[in-house]
Subunit: 476 residues, 4 copies
Amino acid sequence: AQCSDGFKPEEDDGFVLEDVPHLTKFLPDLPSYPNPLKESQAYAIVKRTFVSSEDVVAQNIVVQKGSKRGVHFRRAGPRERVYFRSDEVKACIVTCGGLCPGINTVIREIVCGLNNMYGVNNILGIQGGYRGFYSKNTMNLTPKVVNDIHKRGGTFLQTSRGGHDTAKIVDNIQDRGINQVYIIGGGGTQKGAEKIYEEVERRGLQVAVSGIPKTIDNDIAVIDKSFGFDTAVEEAQRAINAAHVEVESVENGVGIVKLMGRYSGFIAMIATLANRDVDCCLIPESPFFLEGKGGLFEFIEERLKENRHMVIVIAEGAGQDYVAQSMRASETKDASGNRLLLDVGLWLTQQIKDHFTNVRKMMINMKYIDPTYMIRAIPSNASDNVYCTLLAQSAVHGAMAGYSGFTVGPVNSRHAYIPISQVTEVTNTVKLTDRMWARLLASTNQPSFLTGEGALQNVIDMETQEKIDNMKISSI
Amino acid sequence: AQCSDGFKPEEDDGFVLEDVPHLTKFLPDLPSYPNPLKESQAYAIVKRTFVSSEDVVAQNIVVQKGSKRGVHFRRAGPRERVYFRSDEVKACIVTCGGLCPGINTVIREIVCGLNNMYGVNNILGIQGGYRGFYSKNTMNLTPKVVNDIHKRGGTFLQTSRGGHDTAKIVDNIQDRGINQVYIIGGGGTQKGAEKIYEEVERRGLQVAVSGIPKTIDNDIAVIDKSFGFDTAVEEAQRAINAAHVEVESVENGVGIVKLMGRYSGFIAMIATLANRDVDCCLIPESPFFLEGKGGLFEFIEERLKENRHMVIVIAEGAGQDYVAQSMRASETKDASGNRLLLDVGLWLTQQIKDHFTNVRKMMINMKYIDPTYMIRAIPSNASDNVYCTLLAQSAVHGAMAGYSGFTVGPVNSRHAYIPISQVTEVTNTVKLTDRMWARLLASTNQPSFLTGEGALQNVIDMETQEKIDNMKISSI
Amino acid sequence: AQCSDGFKPEEDDGFVLEDVPHLTKFLPDLPSYPNPLKESQAYAIVKRTFVSSEDVVAQNIVVQKGSKRGVHFRRAGPRERVYFRSDEVKACIVTCGGLCPGINTVIREIVCGLNNMYGVNNILGIQGGYRGFYSKNTMNLTPKVVNDIHKRGGTFLQTSRGGHDTAKIVDNIQDRGINQVYIIGGGGTQKGAEKIYEEVERRGLQVAVSGIPKTIDNDIAVIDKSFGFDTAVEEAQRAINAAHVEVESVENGVGIVKLMGRYSGFIAMIATLANRDVDCCLIPESPFFLEGKGGLFEFIEERLKENRHMVIVIAEGAGQDYVAQSMRASETKDASGNRLLLDVGLWLTQQIKDHFTNVRKMMINMKYIDPTYMIRAIPSNASDNVYCTLLAQSAVHGAMAGYSGFTVGPVNSRHAYIPISQVTEVTNTVKLTDRMWARLLASTNQPSFLTGEGALQNVIDMETQEKIDNMKISSI
Amino acid sequence: AQCSDGFKPEEDDGFVLEDVPHLTKFLPDLPSYPNPLKESQAYAIVKRTFVSSEDVVAQNIVVQKGSKRGVHFRRAGPRERVYFRSDEVKACIVTCGGLCPGINTVIREIVCGLNNMYGVNNILGIQGGYRGFYSKNTMNLTPKVVNDIHKRGGTFLQTSRGGHDTAKIVDNIQDRGINQVYIIGGGGTQKGAEKIYEEVERRGLQVAVSGIPKTIDNDIAVIDKSFGFDTAVEEAQRAINAAHVEVESVENGVGIVKLMGRYSGFIAMIATLANRDVDCCLIPESPFFLEGKGGLFEFIEERLKENRHMVIVIAEGAGQDYVAQSMRASETKDASGNRLLLDVGLWLTQQIKDHFTNVRKMMINMKYIDPTYMIRAIPSNASDNVYCTLLAQSAVHGAMAGYSGFTVGPVNSRHAYIPISQVTEVTNTVKLTDRMWARLLASTNQPSFLTGEGALQNVIDMETQEKIDNMKISSI
């Protein structure tokens, strides 16, 4: 049954397409052209080079016989028709927010993709994040200029936080005659991309806005995993192994490793699961407490008696309420709007040191490691390199095909076009009620810090509530 | 297509479940018990610890509105009821075939999974592959013994090729009172596992046979990717970078890097895509020729004129017919039944050297690198470690839940139980008509070696034929 | 200048031997035996297995025609005669102070050396530093137990600071019948070794005390370089490269990397020279100031204008007086007697941030990295492994040959026995008037921070004064 | 013994200076100028910036009271007077022979040294080895061009073997007005440098010829260690560890790792000593035999019985006579005049496989690894980077000070100027009668392969004979 764009659900099998805007929505007479890929020698033998407009990717794939089809997203990839002639394309790329392994690969592959596949060679690099649009020089990006940048970490185009002034940016886009905007950044940046799209639509400009989600924390909803995440988890092992060696070599050694993760503890959780030498993993989603029965202090004392050493991995956003409470921290935000986190690692190190030295009168050796920059700043590893290549090429195919106001990313490992709102409204967090967190608890044998009857219940309620908010569309 | 009885297909939406055998199929009165995981502190707050017997994973997730549901596999994970009491379980683990990063992690997590989650502590290590059943001592495996083995490459239980004597093995299983058999190995090994299952069923033994697919070549069908593949692609970068530096430093330098890949060129393809300094990638699936128009020699000469150096990545199984033809090689097989491959790397190096030195009278500098063992023998990286953990735990949950004759693996990144036949009948190979191979060709700008009109067509025919064989079930 | 008796200086060519004590000095009738190495198959073909008692290593080797011979130390290595029968040897090994790559290799090679070369298999591991003598269980160390420990960082025997009670330790040595004591530790630990030697001599005990200098800071006098130093400088590159990538990617990025170096800046200096991306290197020996003309703030501003980013490497002991002055820090010491250093890295980051944000009203992006534990805790690299092997074997040969109260180490790359006092009285520091520091300044083009006429002069005076103290012997 | 004119041997204390030629030798009126370093800000506070013409480095530093002073070499470093004005210098750099980690660091530091210290900015890169002088374009080398090359392996100037035509090269030097020639290469290349020097002297040209010894095999006499050697030994560990894991995982696994070392086995020996998992190390200096009592086959069988696996490290030049004998190999040479070695690794693998399969009827698993290019092609590690910096700066200081026909290198870790002949006449080989080889034998417990009484004796005679040839000068 082949449903065209309007999607008239004959019988309600719960099929829902979360569609992405197309330029023809507000530029109905926009001409289209045959996709130059037809002539490309490399794609000559590809049986189905072009993705049909009907192809969609299913979001729920753990189903039951007859269960609702649920949400689908448009399959990414090249279309028969493109809505830009190669010579009229004037693209720009901007990178915003913190560093993450793989940004340079994405930049490189957008430039090479536009150039090799679509014969586009008018590509500008916006320098230093959003403010670069209106306060900086642009750079000409050619395959030659970006040829080796994937071998270095960081961003070739520099980055900054904040500086998003929608009107000024869209003015600049108009003034420079830019008609394709590739925006690499996290949740805050993608919200900016949505505003740019809305303003472009309001002004009726033929500008394709394509968002590429960048978050080392892996806290972007819908997509399986963010690029650079695997590289970061791998590099985090160095810090955890160092902490383990340090505390194994001293009496009552307690090693604390702070890893990235403002609102979601994915890096801390997966790095702990991959390492096997971690005794306790503290993440933003799982509240913990120090004092008294079932608290962290009690667990530390037990574990030191047992093994004489202990390693704790803590995400930067963990225990923030706890920290604020004990230090009346002011609610300062960084330029990207993220709550400026108190260094929970230094704070926890101090708390444990005081407790055991002054309260328990026990000798204790604290070793604190913060490897954040040494993880963010390395080049992406091989599998992330390939992931970034597919991501960049999907973004390019999408823009050339006239889609706009979309982000790209793998859904159940198939690249798809996702409405920006879907990835910005909800932060992807670790579900304590999922088996992955159970695996973590089983691997560390740490306490769940959920004492008192209500505790367990309100975690479940909290998450179910959160789930309901997210599922305002799906028709279960 | 075997629709499990429980499913009454009201109207035919094409839903097919490729089910896996259950012990109750031939032991109908086998008693079941509540899953001990209920009491596990770690799983206490998991909302839905147990996978419902209805949960299945969809294989085709790039669909169209109303298209057939297609094939599904049982979702992996713990079930409400188990068919073994913890104290009656006597498990054994065996590793067969070539080395691959991650084997030790799988061994460790099977032992720790059985022990921590199911209270099982009677676990035997079969030494040195299948022949270990009947010709070697077994080892007692406890969490303490395997605690650090994931930090070392290779297999803690040693391995060998061949040695599969179904009767002798099942006799040994019976004599030792083993009732759970975990078999880590490639395609050949999984065929052996199927024979063991069939013999166990014939003898009506309460023995769960669980296969864990191990192939560094990634040539196992159905599952997304085999464990150790990412680690191997990452390590291969060292060899490619070395070849690139060597040939950049000399006049007319041609570097050849031979990578694993007997029948499928995934490692060669993905390593090339991840590296960006490779000029040509030769894989078993894509025939190539040396002489004349559009041949490799012509391409090498062009590229040397252009860049004065060139890097070729070649899979060990590439050009075998070509090699055999030119050397009348005998069809010898190694103990695992794999065609003993002529070292295509040494062969190609010699051919190129002779051609340019004697025929073209050009000075040429050949640099040949075979990093095979340096890639196979390293420990798995962080993301493969987590993948192996999930794989091992799925195998344990499956066996405890009474399933048998199944392999485990991620289907669209959701772990599932897959009938062994599904993964052994067809070898997973690179589809030349897919966009990934097109991306490869685009990234190297190498010739497609498909000259003459027919060439392109017969590749497509060949693959479509192959696809039809594979899709004997799906009802599209 | 203490000339050993055996040397009749016919005419005074300035030859001085800084000799090490021998057990026969206070145990004249101590029997000696032929060195078992004679029978060793491995040493069979060594022409001159045994070092002659006349062989010495020259300290000053940059000489002039006819210049005085200067100081010499006894050449390390096996002697014809040994003063312990293999079966009577009861050796112990203790590791004190902070971690350093290579400690486990030294432990391993002392055990294997004693065992393979001298047939000694009664070797105790003292756990947790000096206090282990009187408050901990000992471990039996055999080649099998230590076989793989060189592959892990840290110390297999655990360590601690302080806890040196000479009487209690020598009592314990006497009670356990220990007659060879191998002490791995820094300057403070070697002073403890000297006290143990003096007490042993006072009690007339047949106990050989052998010190092995361990200091990642390379601040031990006389020896060329301390073990683990090369490994540390190599690992430090990761942190410097990460800082460079981070600051290159942002506007006005200032990266600060704090490296080890309490009193001497060798790691900071050599890591900077090896990296080439460092703009300024601050070490304890070279005072610096922040404000005003020629100060660090002025230099930072210039460099930011020029490159928009900057990397500063700072040794933990740098600018301590400056820090104390600005924060009236109390003079607390850690258990090893080292002045508890205020974290100069955090302090400097804060100072620069305040200055540019509040005083200069300039936007500035600070990135602070403290990789200390990630450098100390890794296993030693290949060249350090070989260095540790020679060091351990020299210590064993020395003790077996009846020497005591000595440390071992390479002098002009030839291993020698050095009186403990020689390495404890003076800390090895970077000479600002040497060409190595000039190379550093040339490579970073940083200011010398020596403004005002007197400044340069008093540095030279200070160092000449220091040199005079050190050179109480040498007769140039 | 050639005593330079300035030295009047009052009484014969055996002092000998192996002096290096100076341009004034055949250009007596060559004007000299004050060294620009005087004005350099970096060198301002260096107490003794300039090396006195009297300063020499002692070669024998293991001496005895009153023993002869022996050979000395001129201390490297800047002199008060230079014999080239900065603006008249026209320097060129050439790299010849096989790759070695660190070449790019040497190139970089010569360019930066000439530029920063001496204000020279007319520096040419000769491309592709000696033949580049007369058959290739030159490149302008500036600090900017070479800024990052030390981060990549290989040689930025390309290299080749042979192509040395003294007359053509000196013509080219004359035609281009080059007056400083920096030659980076091995033994063969340094011989070429000597011929260029002699021809320059014959023509009375004001051209300083400075040789920088490059040999990954460490087979250059007089200097302590060649640059890149430490990096190579470190990288070799990957191959040895891989071989060890592979053979530990199979029945009767024999791993063979072939390492560089045409005439001397330093890399094989030191890599083995550093690793501890090697059972046998075969080097060119130590003849071995396969069959019969005390042979390699017997040793392999014993070791397999004991451990079921074994790792052999073999230098490429080991057993060549043996190989030639058994295969009547023809004496072909590569373009650098090195005997084209039969791949002894492949040969030995085959021999062992045949022996155990056909003669001993034992199942055996051979694993052969040749990591040569993966070791040669990596960038130098941190300590080699610093070593290369000192080497390059010494070469620049020497040329500017008017010395010529000299090589640079550390003698007892102090950089010195060494007559080219001293490093080309004798190849630095492993002395079997030294304690380092004894340490190797002790660490592997391999047989000495010296059966029959004469064997040991003739090794000693052979080496003593060799020593006598080398010591035609020294007056002991």
